[in-house]
Symmetry: C2
Subunit: 130 residues, 2 copies
Amino acid sequence: MSTPIKYSSQREAILRFLKTRKDHPTADVVFQHIREDIPNISLATVYRNLNQLAAAGTILRLTTNGKTDHFDACVEPHFHFCCRSCNAVKDIDMEPFPELTKRATEASNYKIEDVTVLFSGLCDECLTEK
Amino acid sequence: MSTPIKYSSQREAILRFLKTRKDHPTADVVFQHIREDIPNISLATVYRNLNQLAAAGTILRLTTNGKTDHFDACVEPHFHFCCRSCNAVKDIDMEPFPELTKRATEASNYKIEDVTVLFSGLCDECLTEK
DNA sequence: CTCGATAACGATAATTATTACTATTATCAT
DNA sequence: ATGATAATAGTAATAATTATCGTTATCGAG
C-alpha cells in the first residue's frame, strides 16, 4: 500500500546528527549543521526527511510554546521543558506516569494513543543571569 | 511601567464569544464569527486581542499538534485532547495532577511555572465514522 | 550488470499563519 | 472639552513550512 522507502545519504546524515544531540534542534538548526558535511543539501530535504522520520516513529516531533517545532531522536517516553525566556527545549529526567493515560482513557470516550507533557518556566541558564 | 489597557468593544466581543464556546476555536474561527456582529473587524485585531488576553492570563493559548493555536476562555487547570484525524481540540474532564509539577520541580533545577498535558488519538466522532 | 520504475533530491515558488506598519479613531483621566 | 495615547482597520511584510518540477539515485527484475 504505502510507497517503499529508499535509502538516502541525506536522511542518514540527518538521523545520525540528531542522535548526537541532546537539545532537540529545530529543522533550521539541523539544516545549518548538516550542510557542513553536505554543502548543497536543501532545506526542503531536511524538512521532508524530518517529517518522514517523525511519521515513521523513528524520531519525535516536539511542538512547543515557541513557533517552530523541535525534533528528538530519543523516542522513549519522557518529559520536556520549554523555557519561556530563551525557548530552549530540555529534558526532564523523571519516571513516566502511566497513570495519566489510564485516567484519561477512563474519563473520556476517545481513543487515547499518546500523551505529551510539556513543562514551562525558566531554565537554569536564564535563572542565573538574573 | 506597563502601558494601561483601554477598553475596546472588539476585545469584549472576542472574549464574550470565546466564553460561549467549549471547543477552543482558532484565531480565524474567532474572526469569522465576530465579523457577523462587527463586519469590518480586522483579522489583525483578533490576533492582537487574543495575544493580549492570553498574556494577561484571561484566556489560554493551546499549542497542539496541528499548526494553528487554539484559544480557551476557561483558565482553570484541565486537560486537552487533540484528534489526529480531524484536529479538533476537546476537553478531558478529570482531576488535576499536582503531583506532576511537584515531581518535575524535584527532578530539575528549572523554575517550573506551568504544565500542559495534551493527549492525542482519535475523538469520538472520528471513531464512529468507521 | 544493465535497465526501468520511482523515491528522493536541489532549487525555488507558493502557501499559510502571524506580526508589523501606518494613518485614523476611540478611550479616558485631567 | 481636550490632549495623550491605546486600539483599530487595512494592508504589507515576515517566517516557517510545503508544493512543484526537472534531475539524480536507489534498487529489484530480467
